[in-house]
């Protein structure tokens, strides 16, 4: 039994092909730029067994390309490791391509087990050095999990949100590049501009984030390209890692 916040039946943005996304309930990271703050609370959402959940997902299957994709997102799936693992195993047995969308939180062993089970890890590095102000993640634990990826064969996509004044300093980008360089299973690096829509999600909860009082924290497409260039050049990464450079 686990808790989910919601299901998105059709997505082309959360992994390869067409997929459904399960948003797990509960996340300890509490990132100040979170676009889904409703998913933080451990006790909210809907209770469901992995078997029931898979049955629900199977109804979407005829609308998705084969193999159908399933992305475990959240919330933080590793916050409910047994549930996430059970769902991933069931879905893979039925032929789903399972991706894990994680912030890298979590004790090593369940993290290791889940990574071994899924087909793809989408690892969102919130900030390479994790200033306390931006999230509650423990940088050492995230780093340990990142390094663990190098011992496994599961392909990895690195995701990073660019926030002006917070995650865009050159030093942070240099560190990000170094992390990328050290991971042989890395397939892709995606840098997204901060999306101010997050603010309305916070307002709905009548919450506030100090980030919203910092003046303009959004970045332009051009600034994203510049950041990518910095990451790539500082670490000597191949252009093939950057989908934006290979866009049709």
């Amino acid at each position: 039994m686990g808790r989910i916040q919601s299901i998105q039946s059709f997505s082309t943005l959360d992994g390869p092909g067409t997929r459904s996304v399960v948003f797990f309930q509960g996340c300890p990271a509490a990132c100040l730029f979170c676009h889904n703050p409703e998913s933080w609370a451990a006790q909210g959402g809907e209770e469901i067994t992995p078997e029931e959940l898979l049955l629900r997902l199977e109804r979407f299957r005829p609308f998705l390309q084969e193999p159908p994709g399933l992305t475990l997102s959240g919330g933080e799936p590793l916050y409910q490791p047994a549930f996430a693992l059970a769902l991933a195993k069931l879905a893979r047995a039925e032929g789903w391509h399972v991706a894990l969308d994680t912030c890298g939180w979590g004790p090593t062993e369940p993290f290791h087990n889940l990574i071994q089970t899924v087909d793809l890890v989408m690892f969102s590095i919130k900030h390479p050095v994790y200033p306390d102000a931006l999230s509650k993640l423990n940088p050492d634990s995230v780093l340990t999990n990142w390094q663990l990826l190098a011992t496994l064969t599961t392909p990895v996509w690195l995701r990073y949100v660019l926030i002006k004044g917070w995650t865009d300093p050159p030093a942070a980008l240099t560190t990000l590049g170094r992390l990328a360089r050290d991971l042989p299973t890395l397939e892709k690096i995606e840098i997204f501009p901060y999306n101010s829509l997050a603010e309305s999600d916070w307002q709905k909860l009548q919450w506030d984030s100090p980030l919203f009082h910092e003046g303009n924290i959004t970045v332009t497409e051009e600034e994203v390209r510049q950041a990518e260039k910095h990451v790539r050049e500082s670490a000597g990464l191949p252009t093939s890692l950057f989908p934006s450079l290979n866009a049709p």
Partner: protein
């Protein structure tokens, strides 16, 4: 020259049988469409001229010119042309392009209101004729409406009724004119007429119909003669086949101003003629495309004179010149021909446009290149709709067209009585308010007053059943009145002449506001809903405590409520006696009228505020389908087509990026979505691929987007021709988009 040379098959030669003719003579086309040609120089010049005319029409506020001198009748006008040197297909509704005709047969008040809105005075003699000597359909209907019918109509409970203009929805089998020529068709009708020698009401009625039809065909021939064509014999080549077919349709739109004047399913038929000419060496591909392009130009110029109220209901001056494309034959061969591609190709040669309303009859068994082509075009133009051929063919056979927006009709075999629709949400409010109208407080019927401040599911449902039963009686009787008088005073002699003499008749009932009702019932059942009542005791607002499932999330609890409502209502309708023994069908369809219906409906228990638009057609309410498009499609597909044979309209909008990262991905993903939806028994889908930003920009700068076409419920429309209110509603609709 023998017009039937090189044609195969026997049956169709002896009696009218288009299916048999097509089956024996058409050539399915399964390869890649590398043969398609750009527009001919003549087409380019003609289209250029037409576009200038249409720009003038827009600049003039939507109507360029009105002929107030003549009464709509097939022979009333001398020949009209746009540009004789470049016009390959000829014939206009009046004597000048975009000059609108006056059609008083449906009702005089409509003519007067439409003229008045443009500061034109109608002809006083015509007025005298149609108000003193000749009864109109509108007058006849209102004379026999009961007070209850009038009340339901003016409160907007039964709404959009064809009681003041043509009911439309009929599709004459226009192919019969080129294949057989008028002499043969008239001879066949005469046989039918003389074979009926009973003297009961029904037989005399039918005999008069057939006599009218014969007269219609004779006048159609007379009209064509003024253009120099002899329709008495069959068409002998492709050019004649196109011209004869268009004349037949033109005859219909000269006499009838039905809301929907659909064309049918003509590609396989026309392809036979084009193919024969190509093989005989008398035509090349450019010539073949020219014929299609020029026919389509003519169809894009058809106009009717409407009142401002009508425009508010059916925005953008639509005519539903619906033409079906594709589909599978019952013998297992695809009905896709080269000409199906040529039709679709007009969207590229002439640019996207709402008319003709191109409708792809979709099947997973269609040739893959055709599937790719159609989906790619839908993404690029947002001008196509798709309907589930696998669902319709078993019921309507393989020779069917789409009437109006989404309604399948066997060509030449079926006719339908257009039934507009009832507002199911207002009906629910009657159940909650003791049978009183929520806006005016008028007592409409007697149902028990609800007990508590909180709405009790059982009480509300019992009342709702009573309201729906009452409504089904009133609604079916109202439709019987309308169609009796329409047959009597505004009979469609040309269209009906091209349909079998004793056709299968459908009474096409309809409902609007289904998702509002489903969500409201769900709120009452699964959350707690407090009715806030005013001093009259009428609930003017509702407070919802707690969560409830909404239609469009693949949640059986609420989807089941939607099904329960339409099953209940349909089974009540099916028990009512229906004019001319028509078979009841039902649609879940609103066109753009979801805005007006919403305006006329008070606050509903789902949290919708008074006056807010409904979702279009059978769509989930705006923004409530939280689980994405597949879940929404799953919900829609649960609505049972077998009781909604008139069609279940679903309008789907998505941003390009959400559909996929590359054009190839988008096409593949969309195809999979359509296959998934239809595989789950979904009936119809409008495809829109655009971003909200484009629409907002078009609203602010209409001059930059004269051709931006979008699909609304069952038809396409130029976005810039919508009212601001309607534009805002389209923008508010769920456009699937993930950040």
């Amino acid at each position: 020259m023998d017009p039937w040379r090189n044609f195969r098959g026997k049956l169709w030669r002896e009696k009218i049988d288009l299916s048999d003719f097509i089956r024996h003579n058409y050539q399915p086309f399964t390869a890649e469409p590398t043969f398609l040609c750009p527009p001919s120089p003549r087409t380019k010049r003609l289209w250029e001229k037409c576009q200038q005319l249409m720009a003038k029409e827009r600049a003039a506020g939507g109507v360029l010119e009105i002929d107030v001198e003549r009464v709509a009748e097939v022979t009333a006008w001398e020949p009209g042309y746009i540009d004789r040197d470049n016009e390959v297909i000829v014939g206009l509704q009046t004597d000048k392009p975009l000059k609108r005709l006056v059609n008083p047969w449906g009702g005089w008040r409509m003519v007067e209101a439409a003229c008045k809105a443009r500061n034109i005075d109608p002809d006083p003699i015509m007025k005298k004729i149609f108000t003193t000597y000749r009864r109109t359909q509108n007058e006849a209907i209102f004379r026999i409406y009961t007070p209850a019918m009038r009340q339901a109509r003016h409160l907007g409970i039964i709404t959009g009724l064809p009681d003041a203009y043509g009911r439309g929805r009929l599709i004459g089998d226009y192919r019969r004119v080129p294949l057989y020529g008028l002499d043969f068709l008239i001879a066949e009708k005469k046989k039918d007429l003389y074979a009926l020698d009973n003297v009961d009401d029904a037989s005399i009625h039918l005999r008069e119909d057939i006599a009218d039809q014969i007269e219609g065909l004779e006048r159609l021939g007379a009209m064509a003669k003024t253009y120099g064509f002899d329709l008495s014999r069959p068409a002998a080549n492709a050019h004649e086949a196109f011209q004869w077919l268009y004349f037949a349709y033109l005859g219909a739109v000269k006499e009838q101003n039905g809301a929907a004047m659909s064309l049918g399913h003509n590609s396989p038929f026309l392809d036979i003629y084009l193919q024969r000419d190509l093989e005989e060496g008398t035509l090349d591909e450019e010539g073949a495309q020219e014929l299609i392009d020029q026919l389509v130009i003519k169809l894009r110029l058809v106009r009717h004179l409407r009142t401002p109220e009508y425009d508010e209901l059916f925005a953008g001056d639509p005519l539903w010149v619906t033409e079906a494309i594709g589909g599978m034959g019952e013998d297992g061969r695809p009905l896709v021909t080269k000409t199906d591609y040529r039709w679709l190709h007009t969207l590229r040669n002439l640019g996207p446009s709402p008319e003709p309303n191109l409708t792809v009859l979709w099947s997973p068994r269609l040739p893959q290149p055709f599937r790719n082509y159609a989906v790619d075009l839908a993404i690029k133009t947002s001008a196509l709709q798709f309907e589930n051929d696998e669902l319709m063919r078993p019921i309507f056979g393989d020779d069917y067209g789409i009437s109006c927006c989404v309604s399948a009709t066997s060509l030449g075999k079926d006719m339908q009585f257009f039934g507009a629709r009832v507002n199911l949400a207002k009906a629910l409010l009657l159940a909650i308010n003791g049978g009183r109208d929520e806006k005016t407080g008028e007592q409409v019927l007697e149902v028990p007053t609800l007990s508590g401040e909180y709405l009790d599911w059982r009480e509300v449902w019992e009342n709702y059943e009573q309201v729906l039963t009452w409504l089904s009686v009133l609604y079916s009787r109202t439709m019987n009145c309308i169609h009796y008088m329409h047959d009597k005073y505004n009979y469609e002699r040309i269209q009906m002449a091209l349909i079998d003499s004793n056709p299968r008749r459908h009474m096409a009932f309809g409902v609007a506001g289904l998702s509002v009702v489903a969500d409201s019932l769900s709120a009452i059942r699964y959350a707690r809903v407090k009715a806030l009542r005013d001093e009259r005791g009428i609930a003017t607002a509702f407070e919802v405590e707690g969560d409830f499932p909404c239609f469009g999330n693949d949640d059986d609890r609420v989807d089941g409520l939607a099904v329960k409502v339409i099953r209940y209502f349909y089974s009540s309708l099916a028990q009512q006696p229906i004019y001319r023994n028509a078979k009841p069908t039902m649609s879940i369809l609103t066109i753009t009228s979801n805005v007006v219906y919403g305006k006329k409906t008070g606050a509903t228990p789902d949290g919708r505020k008074a006056g807010q638009p409904f979702a279009p057609g059978a769509n989930p309410m705006h923004g409530r389908e939280k689980s994405g498009v597949v879940a929404a499609m799953r919900s829609l597909a649960k609505l049972p087509y077998e009781i909604c044979l008139d069609g279940i309209s679903y309008t789907f909008s998505i941003t390009p990026r959400t559909l996929g990262p590359t054009p190839a991905d988008r096409a593949q993903n969309l195809m999979r979505l359509i296959d998934g939806y239809f595989g789950a028994n979904g009936h119809h889908i409008n495809i829109n691929v655009y971003s909200r930003e484009t629409l907002i920009d078009a609203m602010e700068h209409p001059e930059l987007y004269p051709n931006l076409t979008i699909r609304v419920s069952g038809y396409a429309v130029h976005f810039v021709k919508l009212s601001r209110e309607q534009q805002l509603e389209v923008i508010e609709r769920t456009i699937y988009e993930r950040m």
